[in-house]
């Protein structure tokens, strides 16, 4: 068969003729991809099973953090000195974690949303430059940012003492790009028409932002709040470099330190606590996102994943 006849045959054939032409193929192209399926499901098992075991170990009834001996709540609650709740160090760290994450969300999300809005409408060379700077802070290995901030607080901005303040400043810097990226993606989807309609109908700028644009941005705001909260709760690189006294170390840093020393299942309990909290945050964020975009065409999970 020459090239010519293939092209002609293809042009005249309706798309449904694919099935008829199947005989030409050496193998059935629509067969089940068993190897790929095995890799995918095998990967998921490999990726999630260790976590299930680690969670199970947090309920261990012995000191071992490698072998399960039975169920107990001693590492979560009952042990009067070593459980997550009663070990003074872990107990304090738990609240420090929540404090850092909440303040980071409260600062980073408004800052990032405003930045994204401004950059989106302020078409100019500096706007592009600042946006670039923002994205650079996002792809930089975290250790670079953590060490830079540590050094600046040590030598130049010495009025910021290492500890909670420095940690929040660092976390906000590291997390700022999330709301920016998410809000800019959302601005791209909603377009300018609603706002233009609002101002055509006589709304002054402030009102068209507050009553038209902001409600349209709610999904992006919820999604970024959830992601920033979860990510700052899990952060331990920036936070560790910027922690001052041991009381300012959040749970993530304690887990890191304990794991390197002599971990008990209480460390697993602490890690499980973080996992549950971040999962709740992400699920709530997703539900709020779904609620705010109800009636709009969205990609569901995949869009939430891509932001």
């Amino acid at each position: 068969m020459t090239q010519e006849t293939i092209v002609r045959a293809d042009r005249s054939a309706p798309p449904t003729s694919v099935g008829v032409r199947r005989g030409l193929f050496r193998r059935d192209p629509w067969r089940k991809p068993r190897i790929l399926a095995a890799i995918t499901w095998g990967y998921l098992a490999w990726s999630l099973l260790p976590l299930v075991i680690a969670i199970a170990i947090s309920f261990n009834s012995s000191r071992s953090n490698s072998l399960l001996h039975g169920f107990s709540l001693q590492w979560w609650w009952s042990d009067p000195t070593e459980s997550l709740w009663h070990d003074p160090e872990l107990h304090a760290a738990l609240f420090q974690s929540l404090r850092l994450s909440l303040f980071t969300v409260a600062i980073a999300v408004p800052l990032g949303v405003a930045f994204a809005l401004g950059i989106d409408r302020w078409h100019s060379r500096p706007a592009k430059g600042f946006n670039f700077l923002m994205l650079l802070s996002f792809v930089l290995p975290e250790i670079v940012l953590g060490i830079s901030l540590f050094l600046v607080f040590q030598h130049l901005l010495t009025f910021v003492r290492l500890g909670t303040t420095a940690q929040i400043l660092g976390l906000v810097t590291y997390q700022l790009a999330y709301p920016v990226i998410i809000v800019r993606a959302r601005l791209l989807t909603i377009g300018r028409e609603y706002e233009e309609a609002a101002s055509d109908l006589g709304a002054p700028p402030r009102q068209s932002i507050r009553r038209v644009l902001l409600p349209l941005l709610y999904p992006a705001i919820f999604a970024s709040a959830a992601i920033v909260f979860a990510d700052s709760l899990d952060d331990f690189v920036t936070v560790r470099y910027l922690s001052g006294p041991a009381t300012s170390e959040p749970l993530s840093v304690k887990i890191y330190n304990f794991t390197r020393a002599e971990p008990t299942p209480a460390v697993n309990a602490a890690a499980t606590f973080l996992l549950v909290t971040t999962t709740i945050a992400v699920v709530l964020g997703y539900l709020a996102y779904r609620h705010a975009t109800r009636g709009q065409r969205t990609g569901g999970v995949s869009e939430f994943a891509n932001v």
Binding site: V7, L36, P50, A114, L117, D120, H155, L156, L157
Partner: protein, 317 residues
């Protein structure tokens, strides 16, 4: 003369268009920039300035008694003494660290790419009704703490852990293997486990966008499954491969915790560990700053490439 008259009118039309679309109907000039201002100031003070401090310390001097760094903020007074000393170590006693960091990162990202591609391809092409569930499972590691995920492997790889139990049960080994005693293979496992989700997502994004009719026509035109894959699917997913590879290697180069948690032995020290150890040791400020600069120098090209390519895809959308 038609030309001079055409040019101004086109320019004024463009100006009118710009005024209409970018400044809304009656937003003042300063209106939108003022929204960005707080975050811009934040970035300048807490991102640009810290980085400048790093440079000032790397090219600064050291207190002769306390060995504490004395940053020099004026570029005309910079000295390369401290930086040069560190650079000498990088090419001297610490060159193995750099070499095996590159080895680990290369092997780990290659595994991430091959495995991630297969998984992303399966979910994008054959996910069907289960696509949302599969995707949710694949992105779950994003909000599960990295520490939790490393901790899980530490539990498993312990001398009396389940991995050794399993291998002994299968008679693969007769004694527990010391997985956590400074083995490169364990560090690479940790890196793959830690960063592969970041590879799968961009790959999935690009593979999911490929129109199935393109593959069908590839097959209709007589291509074998292999040639269709190599001549249609692979070229179309190239941006995803590049994005995924960069986004996976960047944090691997700065990683010190995977190594610290899963090995802790100087045999597997990576670039990130040099920085982290300098942080924990007093009197190594300039050394630490120099390591950070060297790391940035290594990564700046892939970072810029990644940012440019994502900007282009965003603009193309």
């Amino acid at each position: 003369m038609p030309e001079p008259s055409a040019a101004p009118s086109r320019r004024s039309a463009r100006r009118a268009h710009r005024a209409g679309s970018s400044e809304g109907v009656h937003y003042p000039r300063w209106f939108w920039p003022s929204f960005s201002l707080p975050a811009i100031l934040w970035l300048l003070v807490l991102f640009v300035l810290p980085f400048y401090t790093v440079i000032s310390i790397a090219f600064g001097t050291v207190d002769p008694i306390f060995r504490s760094p004395l940053p020099v903020y004026q570029p005309w007074y910079w000295s390369t003494e401290q930086f040069g000393e560190t650079l000498g170590k990088v090419f001297g006693i610490f060159s193995p660290v750099y070499i095996h960091t590159f080895q680990y990162v290369f092997i780990a990202s290659a595994i991430c790419l091959v495995l991630g591609y297969a998984i992303a391809y399966y979910v994008a092409r054959y996910g069907g009704k289960r696509k949302a569930l599969l995707l949710a499972l694949l992105i779950s590691p994003f909000w599960i703490s990295y520490l939790m995920r490393m901790l899980a492997w530490i539990n498993l790889l312990e001398n009396d852990g389940y991995v050794n139990k399993f291998l002994m049960f299968l008679n693969v080994v007769d004694r527990p293997v010391g997985w956590l005693e400074g083995r490169p293979s364990t560090v690479i496992l940790g890196l793959v486990y830690g960063y592969i989700p970041y590879m799968i997502l961009p790959l999935f994004g690009f593979l999911d966008r490929i129109d199935v009719s393109l593959l069908e026509s590839g097959r209709d035109l007589g291509g074998s499954p292999f040639s269709t894959f190599f001549r249609v699917t692979l070229p179309l997913s190239k941006p995803g491969i590049l994005a995924g590879t960069i986004i996976v290697t960047l944090p691997m180069f700065g990683d010190y915790f995977t190594n610290n948690l899963l090995s802790g032995s100087p045999r597997t020290t990576m670039i990130g560990n040099l920085i982290d150890e300098a942080y924990s040791t007093t009197g190594q400020g300039p050394e630490m700053a120099s390591y950070v600069l060297i790391l940035m120098a290594l990564l700046i090209v892939p970072m810029l490439y990644y940012l440019r390519s994502t900007a282009r895809t965003a603009a193309g959308r």
